[in-house]
């Protein structure tokens, strides 16, 4: 069930059969990539893009978005003045709205991609075509949801 296990087993089998190829492989490892290469030279397939965006959105949600949302919840619940200030002033600024938009995208993407990963975990849609289609669906759905909530926000 853990994806890495398959890779390890496959590599061991591969080593056993072709020790020469393995030696050549070993010499070039570990391979370090520059940030520029990661960003511009390596073209990730669609599922790869969904995966790295899942990680980036997750990290953003942990910090700083969770702290910010907790602050908003805190202020909006502490008193009526706090609630009115958040609603009528704080969240009216373009910066705060942009922040909310980032939060909405990160949450929607993490949510949609997460459901896709849960389905993959129980072996649903693991064929190449289905996996690519669901990856595209996740990207489009999270952007569409962001656009919808963004529209309602403004």
């Amino acid at each position: 069930m853990v994806p890495q296990l398959g890779g390890v087993i496959a590599l061991q089998r591969y080593n056993y059969k072709t020790p020469m190829a393995n030696a050549a492989l070993k010499r070039r490892r570990p391979k370090y990539l520059s940030l520029a290469a990661l960003l511009f030279q390596i073209r990730l397939p669609l599922p790869g893009k969904v995966s790295i965006l899942h990680r980036i959105s997750g990290a953003l949600l942990v910090f700083p978005l969770a702290a910010w949302l907790l602050y908003l919840l805190d202020q909006s619940l502490v008193s009526e003045e706090g609630f009115n200030h958040i609603r009528d002033h704080y969240l009216q600024s373009p910066l705060a709205k942009a922040g909310l938009l980032v939060f909405i995208w990160a949450y929607c993407h993490h949510f949609c991609a997460g459901i896709r990963f849960l389905l993959l975990d129980i072996n649903q849609g693991i064929e190449l075509q289905a996996a690519r289609a669901s990856a595209a669906l996740v990207l489009v759905a999270s952007l569409a949801l962001t656009a919808y909530f963004g529209y309602r926000l403004w």
Partner: protein
């Protein structure tokens, strides 16, 4: 024999499974809260406060916050393990992550039970 690292994972299915179970808990909470917000909104202060003062809402939100902390711990630890090689730095970042998430949890309790 696996070369075990003290700042590595626990080499079992526990964290992996916990991350998925907490994900499902949070997804259900998100859908329910999203439905309530869209159906009942927009809120004024009294309605907003009443929503989060309900016993079930407090417990559900605390459950969400605890799930988030556990889920985020596994995810952030994966990130540190993948990108941060020096053990001391990785340990420092892991400790910071735990402090941050524990702080969130404490803050959430404070906000909910004021």
């Amino acid at each position: 024999m696996v070369n075990r690292v003290i700042v590595g994972a626990h080499y079992g299915m526990g964290s992996w499974l916990a991350q998925r179970v907490t994900a499902v808990i949070m997804a259900v909470y998100t859908l329910v809260l999203g439905f309530v917000l869209i159906e009942e909104g927009p809120f004024d202060y009294a309605e907003w406060q009443e929503l989060f003062a309900g016993g079930w809402m407090r417990v559900a939100t605390l459950l969400f916050a605890a799930s988030l902390a556990w889920h985020a711990w596994v995810g952030m630890r994966d990130i540190w393990m993948d990108y941060v090689k020096p053990d001391a730095l990785r340990l420092a970042l892991q400790v910071l992550t735990v402090l941050l998430l524990a702080g969130y949890l404490g803050w959430a309790v404070q906000v909910l039970w004021r």
